[in-house]
């Protein structure tokens, strides 16, 4: 066990503990805050594995944007502050599937990579990733930007308030088409 192994184990335990708290807590807002712990611990694991750029993107997008969005949703859906009683379904099928997939995958990884050791990675810079993204993977990158735009437009269309006049985007299109 080297120092990096110990650090990876400790941070991994923090991540798993945060994940357990996310899926078991009875308070909606605290689930969001525990998600910050779990995702931040995964970002630290990225750092320890030499993926510095991915780590900071993780911090910026997940901890910064996604968790804030989730907390906004908790707020906008008027979630009760404090304990909620009806958050959970019966536990048995979820426990079966979760334990089977999680422990099964863990056993598989231990069986395959149990004694495998690799040299500690050098801290990677963004330069190599940039070369790769804009070299071999430039087409998926561009397609992904179109996907983001489509998701943005879709989110706006879905969340437009339809309160005073009963119309949505398709009704708009129909009305404008008939007026021309």
């Amino acid at each position: 066990m080297t120092l990096q192994d110990v650090l990876l184990s400790v941070v991994g335990l923090v991540a798993v503990a945060g994940g357990v708290a996310v899926v078991t807590t009875k308070q909606l807002v605290r689930a969001g805050l525990w998600l910050v712990v779990a995702l931040g611990a995964v970002a630290v694991e990225f750092l320890l594995l030499g993926a510095e750029f991915a780590a900071w993107v993780q911090v910026l997008i997940y901890v910064g944007a996604v968790v804030v969005l989730l907390l906004f949703a908790v707020m906008l859906t008027r979630a009760p502050i404090g304990r909620s009683s009806d958050l959970d379904r019966p536990a048995l099928p979820a426990t079966l599937v979760g334990a089977a997939s999680g422990l099964g995958l863990a056993a598989l990884f231990v069986g395959v990579f149990g004694q495998f050791q690799v040299p500690a990675p050098a801290v990677g810079t963004a330069e190599r990733i940039g070369d790769s993204v804009f070299g071999a993977w430039v087409l998926p990158f561009e397609v992904l930007s179109i996907l983001l735009l489509a998701a943005l437009v879709g989110a706006i269309v879905l969340s437009r308030p339809a309160a005073p006049a009963p119309q949505d985007a398709s009704a708009d299109a129909v009305a404008q088409g008939s007026s021309r």
Binding site: F53, A79, A94, V97, A155
Partner: protein
């Protein structure tokens, strides 16, 4: 030297926890949070694979997965808010897809199908009056 089995086992456990949460939770926002846990476990496997092979392809894919997760959570939360506006509730056990929405002040909003049929029947929308 590092043992890649440690982050891999962490990722497997996080994935299992995410699957548990998706199946166990009733609140739509909590289901989305569990999905984020599963996506993060996949990212951790990709980055660890990079470390083992001394390449950056896994990191590139991890970045792609992060972007897709951001798009997914944006659309998912828009759907959750729409559901809340229609039914005043985001309990996903009680979503009947062919059900009439419970409308009531202050969030009285018609279902999508109602708005469409209304526009097709020439309901007096704002644009229609201008035409």
């Amino acid at each position: 030297m590092i043992r890649p089995v440690i982050p891999l086992v962490t990722a497997a456990l996080l994935f299992g926890l995410g699957a548990y949460g998706v199946l166990r939770r009733r609140n739509a926002v909590l289901v989305l949070m569990s999905v984020e846990l599963m996506l993060n476990a996949v990212n951790l496997v990709l980055v660890t694979g990079d470390t083992m092979r001394e390449r950056v392809t896994g990191q590139v894919f991890a970045l792609f997965v992060i972007v897709i997760a951001a798009a997914e959570v944006g659309v998912g939360l828009a759907l959750v808010l729409r559901l809340f506006r229609l039914r005043q509730d985001i309990n996903i056990d009680q979503v009947a897809l062919d059900d009439e929405p419970r409308t009531g002040p202050p969030f009285a909003a018609p279902a999508l199908a109602d708005a469409r049929s209304g526009a097709a029947a020439g309901a007096p929308t704002l644009d229609g009056e201008q035409a």
